[in-house]
Symmetry: C2
Subunit: 182 residues, 2 copies
């Protein structure tokens, strides 16, 4: 089962937007709040200034050993203490998407240690990836992170480490949206 979700930026919503910054490329229009809701063809969308859509999908690079390591440490989203969140929409370059699977895997993990870096911050920093590229969306991925206020600086460390990797040379648009549960 795929599950599509819409991230709607607007004037009211469950998540208050603390900051919205363009890291690379064009940003998004500033809004006050974000609502996350499932997409269904027969459901009307609530009013919003912008809506980003993504689908929970299968793993694209992760090996069985890595899955086992992640599952041993990770906890579900929606934990009571996790009152802070971040939404990081990313678009990678044409050069990235024209690479073969083994080339992308090598950059993603053997050179950039993407999964290994994320593992260092589990279970504190919860994470869910949504795929958007095949949906005709402006971004390729929407990553949602949840954490408690005491782990906010750890989250900044995580992002700094990822943004310094060879993989990030292929990121041509990135927006960093920080949120707080209202």
């Amino acid at each position: 089962m795929h599950d599509r979700f819409a991230f709607a930026g607007g004037e009211a919503g469950k998540w208050e937007i603390l900051s919205l910054r363009a890291i690379r490329g064009r940003g998004l229009e500033p809004v006050r709040s974000l609502t996350v809701h499932p997409v269904a063809d027969n459901l009307a969308m609530p009013p919003a200034v912008w809506v980003l859509t993504g689908a929970m999908s299968n793993l694209r690079y992760t090996t069985r050993n890595e899955v086992t390591g992640l599952r041993a440490k990770q906890e579900p989203l929606g934990r009571p203490g996790a009152r802070l969140a971040a939404l990081i929409p990313i678009k990678k370059s044409k050069a990235w998407w024209e690479l073969a699977q083994d080339e992308r895997r090598a950059i993603f993990e053997e050179q950039s240690h993407h999964t290994a870096i994320g593992l260092d911050y589990l279970p504190s920093i919860g994470r869910q990836l949504y795929h958007a590229r095949d949906l005709g969306e402006p971004f390729d991925f929407l990553t949602w992170f949840e954490f408690s206020p005491e782990h906010a600086s750890a989250f900044d460390d995580l992002l700094s480490r990822l943004r310094a990797t060879p993989e990030w040379a292929f990121v041509e648009r990135e927006v960093d949206i920080r949120l707080r549960l209202t």
Copy 2:
């Protein structure tokens, strides 16, 4: 760039439907013709009995060596002699999608030789894969094949070989639609 295409079954279209068979699971409503057209959010869909949508996307399993081998032999779609086509929508099981990337790759190529089998039929049997799963579609993949009448039996061989692989144990729905250019 992703590119989404709609495969619309109805009463009139560029491709006449010669046969439409359910290979595994539920079939599709019989129709006379098929039209293939790009999807754009601002374009109205022509009338159709059913519409299947898929996106041209990045390679998911193919290594650089395999890409090089495929490109050396393949020719573009739309060749003048290629008056026959097939559309094969496929849905794989939950068990498939819950496998890790290395497990799916091993079944796909090391055990089932999916890419190697396809290579045996190039350039005669042209092929384009469309991904549909993340779009919330009833099928995971739509594969489009084009060939000249003299290669119709080679195409049947290709399908027989693929359907006999370990990978096909994970196929839970498959429809086989044969077409002729009108």
